[in-house]
């Protein structure tokens, strides 16, 4: 909701009191205090945490170009394949885009935004760009799951009729009845359904009709806190999709009630494997905190891939304070993740295990940096919202969004959003090819740490990168130590001379 006059007045008064008393006050958090005064509730915020250092700008790709300086140079034949599955699953998803749409559920996003993403990915697929989309925690939409004859065979006739009826009501409610049903009910891109602690789905077809399953243990924006959809966003139709009461906040449990440790994860994955006849690739997603340990556990389970979500990873709603203080950034999380994988495969034969990263990745250069640091694929959420016109006011937890993405659905222009998404994907993909091509690589997967340099000591130290001037962190420390010894000895000599 927009802030009432009372809230804004109070904000002004507290600010005056802070100024008058000359006490230090965190102005960024002032609205948090005011909201607590207003309703005694925990204040929420949308999108990612306020991280003063996400490391990406401190890392450069040496000698790469996102746009070739020579107009006639083309890197269209650069390989950008990303393959998911095949470690334990019999099915494999092969795409030519190493980035994809992170989980953003219906409810968190309004229907027009979800439809825009669906249509844009279909359009891209028709042009040969095959990109994965994740449903998010809140269940899938009818056309995402029941677009083919085969998919309808997984539900009873009666259930299928009720699903079609729900689809009609969804479109009517959002004044989208004129939309082409044939176009809508055809999914041409691979879909990952999320299996989260809030089990917002009603039948096994949710798992069977998807191309892969992601078990969400946590997410970067609210690590250790379950999914959250504030009451005003739980409309009748959202509630129906999730099987929960309308207009009551949906607080998913902070942990899976049946996954309390590594052995439970194995049991859960085996259960899902049985349901899907070992066909679907299974990803396990964690928020970045105890990364090494978590990846080690995932590696030893029957998962096909691990997905890590950094501190700045976005959300539709998270407790504001919790979002801003819990978690670690994406780049430093990649290093222990990669190490856990290397340690595991130092004693076991390599297989098709994949590492996917999310959080603060919004453009081609950041995707390339993640791949060079050891990721196989990258999930993007906020980037897609921006391409549809997100203004970053971060009020996604309310039912009012100036861009019409997370609220105020009548404002979103679906056609324009589809164009924005398609351009964003194509542009990013071209840039990625340019980066790899300009470095003389045939595949984006050939990017290595050696292609990167750090512009500061910390990034060099954490990522094991050479500094811009060709000095390693180790050399830097050696120099520091030598200088410190010289200065110490000089001081001792001066003291002796004075005596």
């Amino acid at each position: 909701m927009p802030y009432s006059k009372d809230v804004l007045d109070l904000k002004r008064h507290i600010l005056k009191a802070a100024e008058t008393s000359r006490s230090y006050f965190d102005l960024n958090k002032l609205i948090v205090d005011v909201r607590k005064v207003n309703d005694s509730e925990v204040p929420y915020s949308g999108l990612g945490a306020r991280s003063p250092n996400d490391y990406f700008p401190s890392i450069k790709i040496i000698g790469s170009e996102i746009k070739p300086k020579e107009n006639d140079v083309s890197y269209n034949d650069i390989d950008t394949t990303f393959i998911l599955g095949g470690r334990y699953s019999s099915n494999v998803i092969s795409t030519n885009v190493p980035f994809f749409v992170s989980g953003m559920s219906y409810g968190s996003l309004k229907l027009p935004a979800k439809i825009a993403l669906h249509l844009a990915l279909n359009k891209l697929a028709k042009e040969g760009i095959n990109m994965i989309m994740n449903t998010g925690e809140g269940g899938a939409l009818p056309w995402e799951l029941y677009g083919s004859e085969e998919s309808c065979s997984n539900v009873s006739k009666k259930r299928h009729e009720s699903i079609l009826d729900y689809a009609d009501r969804l479109l009517k409610e959002h004044n989208l009845e004129s939309i082409d049903r044939d176009l809508l009910f055809s999914r041409l891109y691979p879909l990952v359904t999320q299996y989260a602690s809030g089990r917002f789905w009603k039948d096994p077809s949710y798992l069977l009709n998807a191309d892969a399953i992601e078990i969400k243990i946590g997410q970067g924006a609210k690590i250790g806190h379950g999914g959250l959809l504030p009451g005003p966003k739980v409309t009748d139709l959202v509630a129906e999709n999730r099987g929960i009461p309308s207009y009551k906040a949906a607080h998913s449990p902070s942990r899976h009630l049946d996954i309390l440790g590594p052995e439970d994860l194995v049991a859960k994955i085996l259960e899902l494997r049985e349901i899907t006849d070992w066909k679907s690739p299974i990803i396990v997603k964690v928020g970045c905190s105890h990364v090494y340990d978590d990846i080690e556990i995932i590696l030893k389970s029957y998962a096909d891939a691990a997905s890590i979500d950094g501190f700045v990873g976005g959300t539709g709603a998270a407790p504001w304070e919790l979002r801003d203080i819990i978690g670690i950034n994406t780049v430093p999380s990649l290093i222990p993740s990669r190490k856990a994988i290397e340690d595991y495969y130092s004693i076991t034969a390599k297989d098709e295990f994949k590492l996917i990263v999310h959080g603060s990745v919004w453009d081609s250069e950041r995707i390339a940096k993640c791949i060079a640091l050891g990721a196989n694929g990258v999930g993007i959420g906020t980037g897609f919202l921006l391409s549809m016109g997100c203004t970053l006011v971060q009020d996604c937890y309310t039912n009012v969004c100036p861009a019409g993405l997370t609220g105020s659905y009548e404002k979103l222009d679906i056609e324009q959003s589809v164009t924005g998404i398609v351009n964003y994907v194509k542009g990013t993909l071209s840039e990625l090819k340019n980066i790899a091509g300009s470095l003389g690589r045939k595949s984006i997967n050939d990017l290595r740490k050696d292609d990167l340099v750090a512009t500061d000591e910390l990034s060099s130290m954490l990522c094991g990168l050479m500094l811009e001037d060709g000095v390693t962190f180790k050399d830097l420390v050696k120099e520091k130590v030598k200088k410190a010894i010289d200065s110490r000895n000089r001081r001792i000599n001066e003291r002796l001379e004075n005596k």
Binding site: R50, G218, I326, W362, V422
Partner: protein, 393 residues
Amino acid sequence: MNDSDKFMIRRAVLELAKTGIPRSASMDDNIRKTRDINLRAINLWDYVTLIGAQLSRPAYDPYRETINLDISIGIGKSRKIVLNIPLIIYGSIDMDSYSLDSLHLALNRLAEQGQVVGIILEGEINTKKDKRKYPLFKKISSISENHPGDLLGECNEFCADGLVFEYKDDSSVDIIRDLREQFDGPILVDVSNVFPSSFNSILDLKTDGILVDTEKITKSSRYNGKHAIKVICDARNALNSYYKSKDESSDNAILVIAGDVNSTGKIAKVAALGADIIGYSTSILIANSYIYSEKPYDVISIAESVYRHMIGTKEELRGIPAALGYSDFHNISPSDLRTSSIDASLQGNIPLEGIDKTYLDTIGELIDEFLSNKELNMTYSEVRDVLKSIGGE
């Protein structure tokens, strides 16, 4: 995302969404150009985070499970005071009688609902014991040169449940000793004037807690240029090293940290660094803010605001240990902290994110490697001095 970067990020994505063709510069190229300007506003607190519970340690659920925030003040024979929220209202902000009355009403209402929060007050206090349901700590100063008996009389007059004694110098030791003999409630000693010295002599007097005002200390010459993180870390280390040599580890004095702690996130970080109770001034600011409203003398409305804010804060506080995998707020420890700043790592001995080691430990390991590979030739004392110098000592 960083506030100063976010519009550059938006512009970069919109440029792609509009044209679909490669840009001439990446978002990181543009962010780097403005970085020097952005660095001016560094606050080390923003570079410190906590690590949450995931697969390797499951989270608790604050909506469905009990999360403890209670803490008891008082060691040995001292009368015990239990706070249900680890906050004590305290700050160097002046209050008028309306603000004070509203705080009194708010704290009473909280206490009636089993949400006891303490308050530290100086000067004359008009809240009488019989109407007060929350613990009041009377702050007294040795600087007034008053006789301990007079100081105690002052406390009895206001029926204080506890004392906060401002330590001045060695002469304060005798006053504390006398107060300890005559006062059965908890005595907290504010060591901000002498920090970090005198810890041991104060703790030897069986004081119930140490109060450290980080704002005051970071302005002093001893901590010039240092951050509150360093002060809290030093205070906790001093307490730990005192009790390490004692057998009474089960009944330790508490550490109260006051200063610029004005958000729930900071409360959690301060607690992780070692504070048991946090001196919290935001409630005073909220009470004072009504001076500027249309109804400045409506004490009941002011009290309602303070009350609601505290309930919201308490709910936020319950969520944090749960997200870290604890059912008790006081289980949060330095091992839960990570930082993305070398300076914060050095000042607070906080592990860097990603490598889970402090900056100094990493340097120490590299020096060991240089020595074993004979890349450097150093004596033990040289290594020790070098680490001290890199650590900023």
